[in-house]
Protein backbone atom coordinates (compact mmCIF):
# COMPACT_ATOMS: atom_id res chain seq x y z
CA UNK A 1 0.00 0.00 0.00
CA UNK A 2 2.67 2.50 1.02
CA UNK A 3 5.82 1.56 -0.83
CA UNK A 4 8.83 3.87 -0.78
CA UNK A 5 7.74 5.45 -4.05
CA UNK A 6 4.21 6.06 -2.79
CA UNK A 7 5.54 7.62 0.39
CA UNK A 8 7.53 10.02 -1.75
CA UNK A 9 4.35 10.85 -3.72
CA UNK A 10 2.46 11.52 -0.51
CA UNK A 11 5.11 13.41 1.47
CA UNK A 12 7.03 15.18 -1.32
CA UNK A 13 4.45 17.96 -1.76
CA UNK A 14 4.62 18.81 1.94
CA UNK A 15 8.06 20.38 1.66
CA UNK A 16 10.50 19.74 -1.22
CA UNK A 17 7.81 19.87 -3.87
CA UNK A 18 5.24 22.09 -2.13
CA UNK A 19 2.65 23.40 -4.60
CA UNK A 20 2.49 26.88 -3.06
CA UNK A 21 6.03 27.77 -2.02
CA UNK A 22 8.03 25.72 -4.55
CA UNK A 23 5.77 25.47 -7.59
CA UNK A 24 4.10 28.83 -6.80
CA UNK A 25 0.60 27.56 -7.62
CA UNK A 26 -2.68 28.48 -5.91
CA UNK A 27 -1.35 31.84 -4.76
CA UNK A 28 -4.63 33.67 -5.46
CA UNK A 29 -6.61 31.66 -2.93
CA UNK A 30 -3.73 31.92 -0.48
CA UNK A 31 -4.36 35.67 -0.59
CA UNK A 32 -8.14 35.48 -0.46
CA UNK A 33 -8.98 33.15 2.42
CA UNK A 34 -6.10 33.67 4.85
CA UNK A 35 -7.23 36.75 6.77
CA UNK A 36 -8.73 34.39 9.38
CA UNK A 37 -7.68 30.87 10.43
CA UNK A 38 -11.06 29.17 10.30
CA UNK A 39 -11.93 29.75 6.62
CA UNK A 40 -8.32 28.93 5.74
CA UNK A 41 -8.63 25.55 7.47
CA UNK A 42 -11.97 24.65 5.88
CA UNK A 43 -10.63 25.76 2.51
CA UNK A 44 -7.61 23.50 2.98
CA UNK A 45 -9.84 20.51 3.81
CA UNK A 46 -12.18 21.21 0.87
CA UNK A 47 -9.31 21.56 -1.62
CA UNK A 48 -7.71 18.35 -0.31
CA UNK A 49 -10.97 16.44 -0.74
CA UNK A 50 -11.63 17.83 -4.21
CA UNK A 51 -8.11 17.33 -5.56
CA UNK A 52 -7.91 13.78 -4.17
CA UNK A 53 -11.23 12.66 -5.68
CA UNK A 54 -10.71 14.51 -8.96
CA UNK A 55 -7.32 12.80 -9.26
CA UNK A 56 -8.93 9.38 -8.72
CA UNK A 57 -11.73 10.01 -11.21
CA UNK A 58 -9.41 11.34 -13.91
CA UNK A 59 -6.98 8.50 -13.26
CA UNK A 60 -9.79 5.95 -13.72
CA UNK A 61 -10.86 7.64 -16.95
CA UNK A 62 -7.33 8.31 -18.19
CA UNK A 63 -7.35 5.65 -20.92
CA UNK A 64 -10.69 6.76 -22.33
CA UNK A 65 -10.29 10.54 -22.44
CA UNK A 66 -9.76 11.88 -25.97
CA UNK A 67 -6.57 13.92 -25.97
CA UNK A 68 -8.09 16.94 -27.70
CA UNK A 69 -10.67 17.62 -24.97
CA UNK A 70 -8.82 16.42 -21.88
CA UNK A 71 -8.71 19.89 -20.26
CA UNK A 72 -12.47 20.22 -20.70
CA UNK A 73 -13.04 16.80 -19.17
CA UNK A 74 -10.84 17.75 -16.21
CA UNK A 75 -12.72 20.99 -15.76
CA UNK A 76 -16.10 19.25 -15.82
CA UNK A 77 -14.98 16.70 -13.21
CA UNK A 78 -13.57 19.41 -10.92
CA UNK A 79 -16.59 21.67 -11.31
CA UNK A 80 -19.01 18.82 -10.59
CA UNK A 81 -17.08 17.83 -7.46
CA UNK A 82 -16.94 21.40 -6.19
CA UNK A 83 -20.68 21.85 -6.67
CA UNK A 84 -21.33 18.63 -4.76
CA UNK A 85 -19.03 19.75 -1.92
CA UNK A 86 -20.84 23.08 -1.84
CA UNK A 87 -24.27 21.41 -1.73
CA UNK A 88 -23.21 19.02 1.03
CA UNK A 89 -21.78 21.86 3.11
CA UNK A 90 -25.02 23.79 2.67
CA UNK A 91 -27.11 20.81 3.74
CA UNK A 92 -25.09 19.50 6.66
CA UNK A 93 -22.60 22.19 7.73
CA UNK A 94 -24.59 25.33 7.10
CA UNK A 95 -22.58 27.57 9.43
CA UNK A 96 -19.28 26.63 7.79
CA UNK A 97 -20.70 27.06 4.31
CA UNK A 98 -21.95 30.50 5.27
CA UNK A 99 -18.47 31.51 6.36
CA UNK A 100 -16.79 30.24 3.22
CA UNK A 101 -19.51 31.65 0.97
CA UNK A 102 -18.00 32.35 -2.44
CA UNK A 103 -14.64 30.75 -1.75
CA UNK A 104 -15.96 27.21 -2.20
CA UNK A 105 -16.85 28.04 -5.80
CA UNK A 106 -13.38 29.46 -6.27
CA UNK A 107 -11.82 26.04 -5.67
CA UNK A 108 -12.56 25.41 -9.36
CA UNK A 109 -10.09 28.11 -10.33
CA UNK A 110 -7.31 26.78 -8.10
CA UNK A 111 -4.37 26.03 -10.39
CA UNK A 112 -3.16 23.20 -8.14
CA UNK A 113 -6.16 21.11 -9.19
CA UNK A 114 -5.69 21.39 -12.92
CA UNK A 115 -1.94 21.12 -12.45
CA UNK A 116 -2.15 17.81 -10.61
CA UNK A 117 -4.75 16.36 -12.97
CA UNK A 118 -2.71 17.26 -16.01
CA UNK A 119 0.74 16.41 -14.64
CA UNK A 120 -0.03 13.38 -12.51
CA UNK A 121 -3.46 11.76 -12.73
CA UNK A 122 -3.42 11.42 -16.52
CA UNK A 123 -0.39 9.15 -16.35
CA UNK A 124 -0.71 7.28 -13.03
CA UNK A 125 -2.90 4.63 -11.40
CA UNK A 126 -5.82 5.62 -9.14
CA UNK A 127 -4.20 4.79 -5.78
CA UNK A 128 -1.05 6.78 -6.53
CA UNK A 129 -3.19 9.64 -7.86
CA UNK A 130 -5.21 9.61 -4.65
CA UNK A 131 -2.03 9.87 -2.54
CA UNK A 132 -0.73 12.63 -4.80
CA UNK A 133 -3.99 14.54 -4.33
CA UNK A 134 -3.90 14.19 -0.54
CA UNK A 135 -0.23 15.19 -0.45
CA UNK A 136 -0.71 18.29 -2.56
CA UNK A 137 -3.90 19.28 -0.74
CA UNK A 138 -2.19 19.02 2.63
CA UNK A 139 0.91 20.79 1.33
CA UNK A 140 -1.31 23.64 0.17
CA UNK A 141 -3.23 23.59 3.46
CA UNK A 142 -0.11 23.84 5.64
CA UNK A 143 0.97 27.06 3.93
CA UNK A 144 -2.57 28.46 4.13
CA UNK A 145 -2.75 27.79 7.86
CA UNK A 146 0.71 29.26 8.54
CA UNK A 147 -0.13 32.42 6.60
CA UNK A 148 -3.55 32.71 8.24
CA UNK A 149 -1.99 32.22 11.69
CA UNK A 150 0.27 35.26 11.29
CA UNK A 151 -2.33 37.39 9.54
CA UNK A 152 -5.05 36.77 12.10
CA UNK A 153 -2.69 37.11 15.09
CA UNK A 154 -1.06 40.35 13.96
CA UNK A 155 -4.03 41.76 12.07
CA UNK A 156 -6.90 41.09 14.47
CA UNK A 157 -5.19 39.92 17.67
CA UNK A 158 -7.26 36.73 17.60
CA UNK A 159 -6.84 33.05 16.68
CA UNK A 160 -9.89 31.09 15.46
CA UNK A 161 -11.87 34.16 16.55
CA UNK A 162 -10.70 34.01 20.18
CA UNK A 163 -8.88 37.01 21.59
CA UNK A 164 -5.27 35.98 22.34
CA UNK A 165 -3.59 39.36 22.71
CA UNK A 166 -4.68 40.54 26.16
CA UNK A 167 -6.66 43.74 26.55
CA UNK A 168 -3.85 45.09 28.71
CA UNK A 169 -1.55 45.27 25.68
CA UNK A 170 -4.08 47.48 23.92
CA UNK A 171 -4.32 49.67 27.03
CA UNK A 172 -0.55 50.11 26.85
CA UNK A 173 -0.82 51.37 23.31
CA UNK A 174 -0.48 48.20 21.21
CA UNK A 175 -2.42 48.33 17.96
CA UNK A 176 -3.52 45.66 15.53
CA UNK A 177 -1.69 45.96 12.24
CA UNK A 178 -4.51 46.69 9.80
CA UNK A 179 -2.19 46.09 6.85
CA UNK A 180 -1.94 42.39 7.77
CA UNK A 181 -5.60 41.93 6.84
CA UNK A 182 -5.09 43.32 3.35
CA UNK A 183 -4.03 41.00 0.50
CA UNK A 184 -0.50 42.46 -0.03
CA UNK A 185 0.62 41.19 3.36
CA UNK A 186 -0.44 37.66 2.43
CA UNK A 187 1.93 37.87 -0.50
CA UNK A 188 4.74 39.17 1.72
CA UNK A 189 4.04 36.47 4.33
CA UNK A 190 4.21 33.79 1.62
CA UNK A 191 7.46 35.33 0.39
CA UNK A 192 8.91 35.16 3.92
CA UNK A 193 7.95 31.47 4.15
CA UNK A 194 9.63 30.84 0.78
CA UNK A 195 12.74 32.65 2.03
CA UNK A 196 12.97 30.54 5.20
CA UNK A 197 12.22 27.37 3.24
CA UNK A 198 14.86 28.01 0.56
CA UNK A 199 17.54 28.95 3.05
CA UNK A 200 16.98 25.59 4.78
CA UNK A 201 16.87 23.61 1.51
CA UNK A 202 19.99 24.64 -0.37
CA UNK A 203 19.19 22.33 -3.30
CA UNK A 204 16.09 24.41 -4.17
CA UNK A 205 18.16 27.56 -4.67
CA UNK A 206 18.92 28.53 -8.20
Amino acid sequence: MLSKKNKEILLGPLSKNNPVIVQILGICSALAVTAKLEPALVMAVSVTAVVAFANVIISLLRNTIPNSIRIIVQLVVVAALVIIVDQILKAYMYQVSKQLSVFVGLIITNCILMGRLEAFALSHKPWESFLDGIGNGVGYGIILVIVAFFRELLGSGTLFGYQVIPQQMYDWGYQNNGLMILPPMALITVACIIWVHRSRNKDLQQ
Binding site: I65, P66, Q87, I88, A91, Q95, V102, G155, I181, L182
Partner: protein, 236 residues
Amino acid sequence: MNKQGNTYTLIYTSVMVIVVAFILAFAAIGLKPAQEKNIAIDKMSQILSSVNIVSTPENAQELYGKYIDDSYVIAPNGQLTQGESFHLDLAAQLKQPEAQRSLPIFIYTDEKESHKYIIPLSGSGLWGPIWGYISVDDDGNTVYGAYFAHQGETPGLGAEIDKPPFQKQFQGKHFFINGKFTPITVEKAGQKPQNGADYVDAVSGGTITSKGVQTMLQTCVKPYAKFLESLNSNQI
Protein backbone atom coordinates in the same frame (compact mmCIF):
# COMPACT_ATOMS: atom_id res chain seq x y z
CA MET B 1 -12.77 2.68 -32.22
CA ASN B 2 -10.39 5.51 -32.99
CA LYS B 3 -10.01 7.39 -29.71
CA GLN B 4 -8.67 10.51 -31.34
CA GLY B 5 -11.45 10.75 -33.94
CA ASN B 6 -14.24 13.33 -33.93
CA THR B 7 -17.04 10.78 -33.54
CA TYR B 8 -15.50 9.35 -30.38
CA THR B 9 -14.92 12.82 -28.95
CA LEU B 10 -18.50 13.86 -29.64
CA ILE B 11 -19.98 10.73 -28.10
CA TYR B 12 -17.61 11.04 -25.13
CA THR B 13 -18.60 14.64 -24.38
CA SER B 14 -22.32 13.93 -24.75
CA VAL B 15 -22.20 10.96 -22.39
CA MET B 16 -20.07 12.87 -19.91
CA VAL B 17 -22.34 15.89 -19.89
CA ILE B 18 -25.47 13.79 -19.41
CA VAL B 19 -23.95 11.71 -16.62
CA VAL B 20 -22.65 14.78 -14.77
CA ALA B 21 -25.97 16.58 -15.22
CA PHE B 22 -27.82 13.63 -13.69
CA ILE B 23 -25.44 13.39 -10.74
CA LEU B 24 -25.70 17.10 -10.00
CA ALA B 25 -29.47 17.14 -10.43
CA PHE B 26 -29.86 14.23 -8.02
CA ALA B 27 -27.50 15.87 -5.51
CA ALA B 28 -29.37 19.18 -5.72
CA ILE B 29 -32.85 17.64 -5.40
CA GLY B 30 -31.80 15.14 -2.73
CA LEU B 31 -30.19 17.76 -0.52
CA LYS B 32 -32.76 20.48 -1.08
CA PRO B 33 -35.06 19.74 1.90
CA ALA B 34 -32.08 19.75 4.30
CA GLN B 35 -30.78 22.99 2.78
CA GLU B 36 -34.14 24.76 2.92
CA LYS B 37 -34.59 23.72 6.52
CA ASN B 38 -31.16 25.16 7.32
CA ILE B 39 -32.00 28.40 5.55
CA ALA B 40 -35.29 28.77 7.43
CA ILE B 41 -33.65 28.01 10.78
CA ASP B 42 -30.87 30.44 9.96
CA LYS B 43 -33.41 33.15 9.18
CA MET B 44 -35.18 32.52 12.48
CA SER B 45 -31.87 32.73 14.30
CA GLN B 46 -31.06 36.02 12.54
CA ILE B 47 -34.43 37.50 13.50
CA LEU B 48 -33.85 36.41 17.10
CA SER B 49 -30.39 38.03 17.06
CA SER B 50 -31.95 41.37 16.23
CA VAL B 51 -33.80 41.31 19.56
CA ASN B 52 -30.60 40.25 21.33
CA ILE B 53 -31.54 36.60 21.79
CA VAL B 54 -28.66 34.23 21.14
CA SER B 55 -29.85 30.97 19.59
CA THR B 56 -28.21 27.83 18.28
CA PRO B 57 -29.36 25.90 15.21
CA GLU B 58 -30.90 23.38 17.63
CA ASN B 59 -33.12 25.73 19.65
CA ALA B 60 -33.76 28.51 17.12
CA GLN B 61 -37.06 27.04 15.96
CA GLU B 62 -38.39 26.67 19.51
CA LEU B 63 -37.33 30.16 20.61
CA TYR B 64 -38.73 31.65 17.43
CA GLY B 65 -42.09 29.98 17.99
CA LYS B 66 -42.15 31.22 21.57
CA TYR B 67 -41.27 34.89 21.05
CA ILE B 68 -41.86 35.96 17.46
CA ASP B 69 -45.16 36.53 15.76
CA ASP B 70 -44.89 36.70 11.98
CA SER B 71 -48.57 36.73 11.14
CA TYR B 72 -48.82 40.45 10.40
CA VAL B 73 -47.77 42.61 7.48
CA ILE B 74 -47.92 46.36 7.00
CA ALA B 75 -50.48 47.58 4.50
CA PRO B 76 -49.79 50.62 2.27
CA ASN B 77 -51.70 52.87 4.70
CA GLY B 78 -49.22 52.03 7.47
CA GLN B 79 -51.60 49.79 9.42
CA LEU B 80 -50.89 46.31 10.72
CA THR B 81 -52.94 43.72 8.85
CA GLN B 82 -53.15 39.94 8.90
CA GLY B 83 -50.66 38.31 6.55
CA GLU B 84 -47.74 35.98 6.35
CA SER B 85 -44.39 37.71 6.85
CA PHE B 86 -41.84 34.91 7.02
CA HIS B 87 -41.76 34.11 3.32
CA LEU B 88 -42.41 37.65 2.14
CA ASP B 89 -39.47 39.06 0.20
CA LEU B 90 -38.80 42.66 1.17
CA ALA B 91 -36.69 43.48 -1.90
CA ALA B 92 -39.47 42.28 -4.23
CA GLN B 93 -42.08 44.27 -2.32
CA LEU B 94 -40.02 47.46 -2.47
CA LYS B 95 -39.95 47.21 -6.27
CA GLN B 96 -43.75 47.37 -6.42
CA PRO B 97 -45.65 50.67 -6.47
CA GLU B 98 -46.28 52.00 -3.00
CA ALA B 99 -50.02 51.39 -3.03
CA GLN B 100 -49.63 47.65 -3.64
CA ARG B 101 -46.93 46.85 -1.14
CA SER B 102 -47.35 44.70 1.88
CA LEU B 103 -44.26 44.92 4.02
CA PRO B 104 -43.07 42.07 6.23
CA ILE B 105 -42.81 42.76 9.95
CA PHE B 106 -42.01 40.52 12.89
CA ILE B 107 -43.38 41.22 16.32
CA TYR B 108 -41.40 40.15 19.35
CA THR B 109 -43.25 39.83 22.64
CA ASP B 110 -41.07 39.45 25.69
CA GLU B 111 -41.93 38.08 29.14
CA LYS B 112 -43.22 41.47 30.28
CA GLU B 113 -45.71 41.53 27.38
CA SER B 114 -44.01 44.50 25.78
CA HIS B 115 -43.63 44.48 22.01
CA LYS B 116 -40.68 45.15 19.74
CA TYR B 117 -41.12 45.52 16.00
CA ILE B 118 -38.52 43.87 13.77
CA ILE B 119 -37.94 45.33 10.32
CA PRO B 120 -36.01 43.31 7.72
CA LEU B 121 -33.32 45.11 5.70
CA SER B 122 -31.67 44.24 2.43
CA GLY B 123 -29.05 46.06 0.38
CA SER B 124 -25.68 45.65 -1.22
CA GLY B 125 -22.14 45.89 0.11
CA LEU B 126 -18.84 45.89 -1.73
CA TRP B 127 -18.86 42.36 -3.17
CA GLY B 128 -22.43 41.20 -2.87
CA PRO B 129 -25.68 41.45 -0.99
CA ILE B 130 -25.88 42.46 2.65
CA TRP B 131 -28.99 42.13 4.79
CA GLY B 132 -30.14 42.40 8.34
CA TYR B 133 -32.91 42.96 10.84
CA ILE B 134 -33.40 45.94 13.09
CA SER B 135 -35.79 45.94 16.03
CA VAL B 136 -37.58 49.04 17.24
CA ASP B 137 -39.18 49.61 20.66
CA ASP B 138 -42.93 50.09 20.86
CA ASP B 139 -42.42 53.87 20.85
CA GLY B 140 -41.63 53.42 17.13
CA ASN B 141 -38.45 55.38 17.56
CA THR B 142 -35.73 53.80 19.70
CA VAL B 143 -33.67 50.94 18.27
CA TYR B 144 -33.70 47.89 20.52
CA GLY B 145 -31.21 45.77 18.63
CA ALA B 146 -29.73 45.19 15.19
CA TYR B 147 -28.35 42.30 13.21
CA PHE B 148 -26.43 42.44 9.94
CA ALA B 149 -25.09 39.73 7.67
CA HIS B 150 -23.34 39.60 4.34
CA GLN B 151 -22.60 37.14 1.59
CA GLY B 152 -18.98 37.82 0.79
CA GLU B 153 -17.57 41.01 2.28
CA THR B 154 -13.82 41.15 2.94
CA PRO B 155 -12.95 39.21 6.11
CA GLY B 156 -11.58 41.50 8.80
CA LEU B 157 -12.83 44.62 7.01
CA GLY B 158 -16.37 44.91 5.63
CA ALA B 159 -17.23 41.52 7.10
CA GLU B 160 -17.03 43.07 10.58
CA ILE B 161 -20.61 44.31 10.15
CA ASP B 162 -21.80 40.87 11.26
CA LYS B 163 -19.90 41.13 14.55
CA PRO B 164 -21.46 42.33 17.84
CA PRO B 165 -19.12 45.36 18.33
CA PHE B 166 -20.59 46.98 15.20
CA GLN B 167 -24.17 45.85 15.81
CA LYS B 168 -24.29 46.89 19.48
CA GLN B 169 -23.69 50.52 18.49
CA PHE B 170 -27.22 50.72 17.12
CA GLN B 171 -28.94 50.07 20.45
CA GLY B 172 -30.68 53.17 21.78
CA LYS B 173 -30.36 55.18 18.55
CA HIS B 174 -33.44 56.97 17.23
CA PHE B 175 -35.20 57.03 13.88
CA PHE B 176 -37.10 60.26 14.55
CA ILE B 177 -35.42 63.52 15.47
CA ASN B 178 -37.88 66.28 16.50
CA GLY B 179 -40.74 64.24 15.09
CA LYS B 180 -39.16 63.94 11.65
CA PHE B 181 -37.98 60.66 10.12
CA THR B 182 -34.17 60.82 9.96
CA PRO B 183 -32.57 57.41 9.43
CA ILE B 184 -29.50 56.45 11.44
CA THR B 185 -26.30 57.13 9.51
CA VAL B 186 -22.95 55.36 9.52
CA GLU B 187 -20.09 57.82 9.82
CA LYS B 188 -16.31 57.71 9.74
CA ALA B 189 -15.06 57.75 13.35
CA GLY B 190 -14.98 61.33 14.61
CA GLN B 191 -17.43 62.74 12.08
CA LYS B 192 -21.06 63.69 12.56
CA PRO B 193 -23.96 63.84 10.10
CA GLN B 194 -25.04 67.35 9.19
CA ASN B 195 -28.78 66.84 9.60
CA GLY B 196 -28.42 65.98 13.28
CA ALA B 197 -29.40 62.33 12.79
CA ASP B 198 -28.25 59.65 15.20
CA TYR B 199 -25.12 57.92 13.93
CA VAL B 200 -22.79 55.00 14.55
CA ASP B 201 -19.09 54.55 13.74
CA ALA B 202 -18.31 52.84 10.43
CA VAL B 203 -16.00 49.85 10.14
CA SER B 204 -12.50 51.15 9.39
CA GLY B 205 -11.29 49.80 6.07
CA GLY B 206 -14.84 48.81 5.19
CA THR B 207 -16.10 52.10 3.85
CA ILE B 208 -18.19 50.79 0.98
CA THR B 209 -19.78 48.10 3.13
CA SER B 210 -20.52 50.69 5.83
CA LYS B 211 -22.10 52.98 3.25
CA GLY B 212 -24.14 49.98 2.12
CA VAL B 213 -25.47 49.58 5.66
CA GLN B 214 -26.40 53.25 5.75
CA THR B 215 -28.21 53.10 2.40
CA MET B 216 -30.01 49.97 3.54
CA LEU B 217 -31.20 51.75 6.70
CA GLN B 218 -32.51 54.62 4.60
CA THR B 219 -34.26 52.72 1.84
CA CYS B 220 -35.66 49.82 3.84
CA VAL B 221 -36.88 51.64 6.94
CA LYS B 222 -38.37 54.59 5.10
CA PRO B 223 -41.41 52.63 3.82
CA TYR B 224 -42.12 51.76 7.45
CA ALA B 225 -41.94 55.40 8.56
CA LYS B 226 -45.71 55.84 8.48
CA PHE B 227 -46.20 52.76 10.63
CA LEU B 228 -43.49 53.81 13.08
CA GLU B 229 -45.02 57.25 13.30
CA SER B 230 -48.40 55.78 14.16
CA LEU B 231 -46.75 53.84 17.02
CA ASN B 232 -45.20 57.11 18.02
CA SER B 233 -48.48 58.97 18.26
CA ASN B 234 -50.15 56.11 20.13
CA GLN B 235 -47.68 56.79 22.90
CA ILE B 236 -48.67 60.43 23.25
